[in-house]
């Protein structure tokens, strides 16, 4: 098996990011069709029949989420979550950079499905290049009359704004994204109410990941059956996979869901460097619990990953080979989440910093095996008790590392202690010893 290119089909085409090329290759036909010829319910039912699930991490049915939007004449919003900040994830970046109009077209279809008249693309601040490309594409779309008042000559209104984030991982959490978009401190909101009921400016809001929306045009174009025929079971369609870490050919690959994991890591990404073996991998970004060699032959689907105790998440596979010690890896990971914790709720704010401190002690040789028990328990105490999923995003992978690599942790504790103990015995200098030998016994 190899790649199956739908989203990335035209990536070899020069200047794909321009309106001219995108339209020449059939772009905006789906949006035009959705706006002019399809009632909202039909757009929804096609998306539903396609089985398209959210590509941002949670994997929730896109049509179902859009279906939660209440009816009524109030202002409704579509927000595209382009705050791609998950360590290991870089798929949205390429989707926006190479084919921005595909996303804009997806936004139009998403807005029709949601009944929204205002749409926002909340893009990670560091994606400056991609934001500029999007900006230019949005201008082109406005000039063409595909955005604004009366799009495609219809009565439909859709305003689209590209909003740059200010550099916080938490703003990828949908409710924090809304706060950030409103100009507030980007902190997650308490749910319920869910954004579909009370989101941006307290209005009903549909929030979708870049890749989810990018899938919409092809579904409208080729029909839901075409999409549903790809993949297995409830994991339909293709998926962008970002592979990074200890592999020979890191990068983005578009695969059909259900492809064995081994195929992605070894077939597409070339596996770990010569002479090294796979130790573990994160199947869905840094917040997914790690899996090990025994999971390599599982099909890459939402269900199989969940069953194995992890998640497909953003499908960002980070490969760790056997040259990597687990403790620094855990420390690096926990350090990231400690830094990005917004500080609003207690278990995340205090639990992440506590975990980091313990891992530092383990690495510095100042810990005992008892600390490992405490650390495991701290992870348990974080999971499920937080306001949003950020705390769990650290606790789950750290917990999985302790579970899979307990022995290595224990050995690390002992080795580091021994090393520190050695370092800490003050030794006499050679000169001192020589002088003492010279002097002889008193």
């Amino acid at each position: 098996m190899s790649e199956l290119k739908n989203l990335t089909a035209n990536y070899d085409e020069p200047n794909l990011h321009t309106m001219e090329v995108y339209e020449r290759l059939g772009g905006y036909r789906s949006a035009r069709k959705a706006v002019l010829d399809m009632p909202q319910e039909e757009v929804l039912s096609q998306l539903e029949a396609s089985g398209l699930r959210g590509r941002g991490g949670a994997g929730f049915s896109m049509a179902k989420k859009a279906g939660f939007m209440p009816e009524g004449t109030m202002e409704k919003y579509l927000c595209c979550n382009a705050d791609e900040s998950e360590p290991g994830a870089f798929k949205d970046r390429v989707l926006m950079q190479r084919n921005p109009h595909q996303l804009i077209e997806g936004c139009i279809i998403g807005a029709i499905a949601a009944g929204a008249t205002r749409a926002f693309i909340f893009i990670r601040g560091e994606y400056e290049t991609q934001a500029k490309i999007l900006d230019a594409a949005v201008i082109e779309a406005y000039e063409k009359g595909y955005l604004g008042v009366g799009i495609f000559g219809s009565q439909t209104v859709l305003e689209l704004v590209v909003h740059r984030g200010q550099g916080a991982y938490i703003c990828g959490e949908e409710s924090a994204l809304l706060d950030g978009l409103e100009g507030n401190r980007g902190n997650p909101r308490l749910k319920p109410p869910f954004p579909a009921n009370q989101g941006l400016y307290q209005g009903p809001t549909l929030i979708n990941n870049v890749e989810t929306l990018c899938n919409a045009p092809a579904i409208i174009e080729h029909g839901p059956e075409w999409f549903a025929a790809m993949g297995v079971d409830k994991s339909t369609g293709t998926k962008m996979v970002s592979v990074s870490g200890n592999v020979q050919r890191p990068g983005n690959f578009e695969v059909e869901l259900g492809i064995p994991v081994r195929e992605i890591i070894y077939g597409l990404a070339g596996g770990p460097p010569e002479g090294r073996d796979l130790k573990c991998f994160f199947p869905g970004g840094s917040s997914a619990p790690v899996l090990t060699k025994e999971h390599l032959d599982l099909p890459f689907t939402y269900e199989a990953m969940a069953e194995a105790g992890s998640m497909l998440g953003t499908a960002s596979i980070i490969v760790v080979d056997d040259s990597q010690p687990i403790v620094p890896l855990a420390l690096n990971l926990a350090g990231f989440y400690r830094h990005e914790s917004c500080g609003k709720c207690v278990p995340c704010r205090e639990g992440t910093v506590w975990t980091v401190r313990m891992l530092e002690r383990i690495d510095e040789g100042d810990a005992t095996p008892m600390d490992l028990e405490i650390m495991a328990e701290v992870q348990t105490n974080i999971i499920g008790n937080c306001l949003c999923v950020l705390g769990d995003s650290m606790a789950m992978p750290i917990g999985s590392m302790i579970k899979h690599f307990r022995q290595e942790f224990e050995e690390h504790i002992e080795a580091a202690r021994a090393a520190r103990d050695r370092e800490h015995i003050p030794a006499f200098s050679a000169g001192e010893l020589a002088a003492a030998v010279e002097a002889g016994p008193a």
């Binding site: 917004c342 500080g343 278990p347 704010r349 205090e350 992440t352 506590w354 105490n381 008790n385 306001l387």
Partner: protein, 850 residues
């Protein structure tokens, strides 16, 4: 919108079937079943729950994850478990997380002993600590403001103070800075957090992070006792709890939540003003003037001299009462005046008497609103009052109604106010032109009574704005009108009240259960004093007095002319609060007897008083007050009398006795009893009934004893045309007056005189923000600093009332008055440096409005 009906549902908690109001958050509903769920961040008064502390997690059948009970509304048939192993281990975990970075300095922490974190750690924590790393450190303690110290290490980031600042006080000063475990509470640029309600965050703080600088290290909870009373510093009459040590010293004042009065908040004056009780400068013994100087004397001598002087003056005695005079004191004063001395000349209002008929109409139960009606009003009309200065807690109430319940606010004021940004419509009129403005509004509302020509221009108001206000009011359901006593002052006061009543009638307020008026008076117990008979034409119970007396202004004239020879000042200082100061100065100089009841001896009294009785502070007093909405509340004695201070009711009773009209009262409750008999609509009241939360007399059967009064009919008098020139207005300041001057913590807030001007006027006058100006009228003048106000109506200038220096009473005279404003220090021939500066002051030199 009417008050929501509350439906009861039943749910199961910890195996018990419990009934609770539908939609209540679980954490509160649990209390109905005597189940306590611990929490830190939850506080319904602060608005929507935030779910930040995670302390209140519970297990709900059918929901896989634990839920925060602070944000989960209870539903019929819900099954909740708060004691399962899962819940317990989550509670243990949260306490452990909270404590890892919390300094365990309880023995030296002010909060120790009354600390929710301490209590919850004992009640729901694991009792052990596994955190051995170094704790987080911040610089500490720091001043968050001169009133509040902040210890960021103790802070658990529960959001309470920040939410208070953002969503209750709406001063938007407190924010979170940084993120994660570095997050801390602070202000933009580290400026001091100064606002009229800042002290509430001390009480909201569930740990020792925010402490009162005034109370810091003064006592531990087990050294003190709490005593409930009523704050008497302003007409809001907030319920307070005083912290008392050794039965003799007030160490702290806190809120005592009464939904019908204060909603649990307290302003900083109410919170820190208690310091004035123990001021060194407070008078602690009676004094008489001997050889030109005041000397401390025995009570007997002071009473003798006062009684002798009063007996001699007899019917030529006048009396002014003010401030926090209790109903009992007011009742005894009018008894002393009318029955012992035969003088009808007593007044409790600075600006002029209210017409007797109007007073009765305004007291009608169907026309008066209760404070909590503000919560549910559709439209709140604010008429010429700056609530945040005059009755601060009502300002919060209006903000709450607008923010939480979508009430529309209409401000109809001469000065731009702090509620304007929250208002759907703001109407500005010229100072002193409330009568015309209200007449114009009545006309827009279709009142047949308002027939005058060009009412908008007589008010100096935009016709469109009044039209927009009327538009909102016309179709509104419940309307609450908050009106400032000031409109009824002066020669056109009766006309303005008449116009207000025309608006009232046009709005159909009489027929609406939850609509009504609330007067925002100048004096704390203005309503009580009026109802107990301290008014020139009104006897107790708002009945007509046997003999009409003089108003304050008439007294000043009569005293000056020798027609009256004695003056009793019961908590009143006419030089500070009454218009026409020059006339009062002359009156005080001329009068032979001035008997004053006061806590502090200042300016006029020091020079003119012949006998001074030391007044009680409110912490020493026993009596009742009547809230502007008609609620009688009890002021309770919390500490022993300081020095040789005696209860004022007993002093007044003794004076009456010595002047030949003893009342035979031996205790404060006996006076209350007599008062409840004398005032018809208070009949049958008892102190027990009033209790800790007060009783509105309108809600009792005796309310029918209010003398009948009809809403007036017939055409309104036509308000006069506007005068030319810069029209003078005054605005109250919460921070002026002796309480603030004698409370060290608050002194920094005492206002200096400022002249608020519209930028266009300032430009024309060649002055700008910060300039010293001289404001003059009728040969009198004062100094003020210019403050520009973008929203000020051109042609208006506002001065701060009640300032210690440069008090505008030298300029006010009860009629709309034009003043001259000149840059201070400019030479008469106009060739001086400031004249040069004024030509250079163009539009570009204007400072931004504050």
């Amino acid at each position: 919108m009417a008050r929501p009906e509350i439906k009861e549902i039943s749910f199961e908690i910890d195996g018990r079937e419990v009934r609770a109001p539908e939609g209540a958050m679980l954490v509160e509903a649990a209390k109905s079943g005597d189940v306590e769920i611990p929490y830190f961040c939850f506080e319904p008064k602060l608005g929507e729950p935030v779910g930040a502390c995670r302390m209140c997690l519970v297990e709900i059948e059918g929901i896989p994850k634990l839920q925060t009970s602070c944000s989960t509304p209870v539903k019929d048939g819900m099954v909740v478990n708060t004691t399962s192993d899962r819940v317990k281990s989550a509670q243990n975990a949260i306490v452990e997380f909270l404590l890892i970075n919390h300094p365990l300095d309880c023995p030296v922490c002010d909060k120790g002993g009354e600390c929710p974190l301490q209590d919850i750690s004992y009640g729901w924590g694991g009792g052990k600590s596994r955190f051995i790393e170094p704790k987080r450190h911040f610089r500490k303690p720091l001043e968050l403001s001169p009133l509040v110290a902040i210890d960021r290490e103790r802070c658990i980031l529960c959001y309470r103070c920040v939410r208070f600042s953002q969503e209750v006080a709406e001063d938007y000063q407190l924010v979170f800075l940084e993120r994660g475990d570095h997050t801390y509470v602070g202000t933009h640029d580290g400026r001091p957090y100064v606002g009229p309600f800042s002290g509430n965050i001390i009480e909201l703080c569930p740990v020792g992070a925010l402490t009162s600088t005034a109370y810091r290290f003064r006592a531990r909870p087990w050294d003190v006792e709490e005593a409930g009373s009523i704050c008497t510093f302003c007409p809001s009459q907030c319920n307070v709890q005083l912290t008392i040590r050794d039965d003799s010293k007030v160490l702290r004042a806190g809120a005592r939540d009464n939904h019908e009065v204060d909603d649990g908040w307290l302003c900083d004056k109410g919170r820190f003003g208690y310091q004035s009780i123990h001021s060194e400068e407070r008078l602690r013994a009676p004094m008489v003037r001997e050889g030109g100087a005041l000397i401390e004397v025995s009570w007997d001598r002071a009473l003798d001299e006062a009684a002798a002087a009063l007996t001699e003056a007899g019917a030529a005695t006048a009396a002014l009462a003010g401030g926090a005079t209790t109903n009992e004191e007011a009742f005894l004063l009018q008894h002393l005046m009318r029955n012992a001395l035969g003088s009808p000349h007593l007044d409790a209002r600075a600006g002029g008497a209210l017409d007797a008929g109007q007073a009765r109409v305004l007291a009608r139960p169907d026309l008066s609103a209760r404070v909590s009606d503000i919560d549910h009003a559709d439209v709140i009309l604010v008429v010429d009052t700056e609530l945040v200065e005059e009755a601060p807690i009502l300002d919060l109430r209006v903000r709450k109604a607008a923010r939480r319940n979508g009430a529309k606010v209409v401000t109809l004021t001469s000065r731009p106010g702090s509620l304007d940004p929250n208002a759907a419509v703001s109407v500005r009129f010229a100072p002193g032109a409330a009568e015309a403005a209200l007449s114009a509004l009545a006309a827009e509302l279709g009142s047949e009574r308002a027939t005058g020509p060009r009412l908008h221009s007589r008010a100096g108001a935009e016709p469109g704005a009044i039209g927009a206000a009327a538009e909102l009011l016309r179709d509104a359901g419940d309307v609450v009108v908050l009106w400032g006593e000031g409109i009824s002052d002066g020669t056109r006061g009766a006309g303005a009240v008449d116009a207000l009543l025309a608006v009232t009638r046009a709005l159909g307020i009489a027929g609406r259960q939850e609509s009504g008026l609330i007067e925002v008076p100048g004096a704390t117990n203005a309503r009580g004093m009026r109802e107990t008979g301290v008014a020139p034409g009104l006897a107790p119970g708002l009945t007509d007095a046997a003999e009409a007396g003089m108003t304050a202004a008439q007294m000043a004239a009569a005293l000056g002319e020798g027609e009256l020879s004695a003056l009793i000042l019961l908590h009143a200082d006419p030089l500070a609060t009454h218009p026409e100061r020059p006339r009062w100065e002359a009156a005080l100089d001329g009068v032979s007897t001035v008997i004053a009841f006061t806590e502090f001896v200042g300016g006029a009294l020091a020079e003119n008083a012949t006998v001074i009785f030391p007044a009680e502070s409110y912490a020493e007093k026993e009596g009742t007050l009547t809230h502007p909405d008609g609620r009688l509340q009890r002021v309770r004695q919390a500490i022993g009398h300081q020095g040789r201070v005696r209860p004022e009711w007993s002093v007044l009773a003794e004076l009456a006795e010595r002047c030949g009209a003893g009342l035979d009262v031996l205790s404060a409750p006996q006076v209350s009893e007599k008062l409840f008999v004398a005032v018809g609509f208070y009949n049958g009241l008892t102190l027990e009934e009033i209790g800790g939360k007060g009783v509105r007399w309108q809600d009792r059967d005796a309310a029918s004893r209010l003398p009948a009064a009809e809403l007036p009919e017939g055409s309104l008098e036509v308000a006069p045309e506007l005068s030319e020139g810069m029209r003078l207005g005054t605005t109250a300041s919460l921070w002026s007056g002796p309480t603030v001057e004698h409370a060290p913590s608050l002194r920094f807030l005492a206002p200096a005189q400022r002249a608020e001007l519209a930028p266009s006027d300032a430009r024309r006058l060649g002055v700008t923000s910060g300039d010293e100006v001289e404001v003059a009228a009728g040969g009198e003048s004062l100094r003020a600093t210019v403050a520009l106000r973008q929203a000020m109506q051109p042609g208006s200038v506002f001065l701060v009332a009640g300032t210690a220096e440069n008090n505008p009473t030298v300029l006010t005279n009860g009629v709309p008055r034009a003043v001259e404003i000149t840059k201070a220090g400019s030479t008469e021939n106009g060739a001086g440096p400031s004249a040069g500066a004024s030509t250079a002051t163009g539009p570009g030199a204007q400072t931004p409005p504050t």
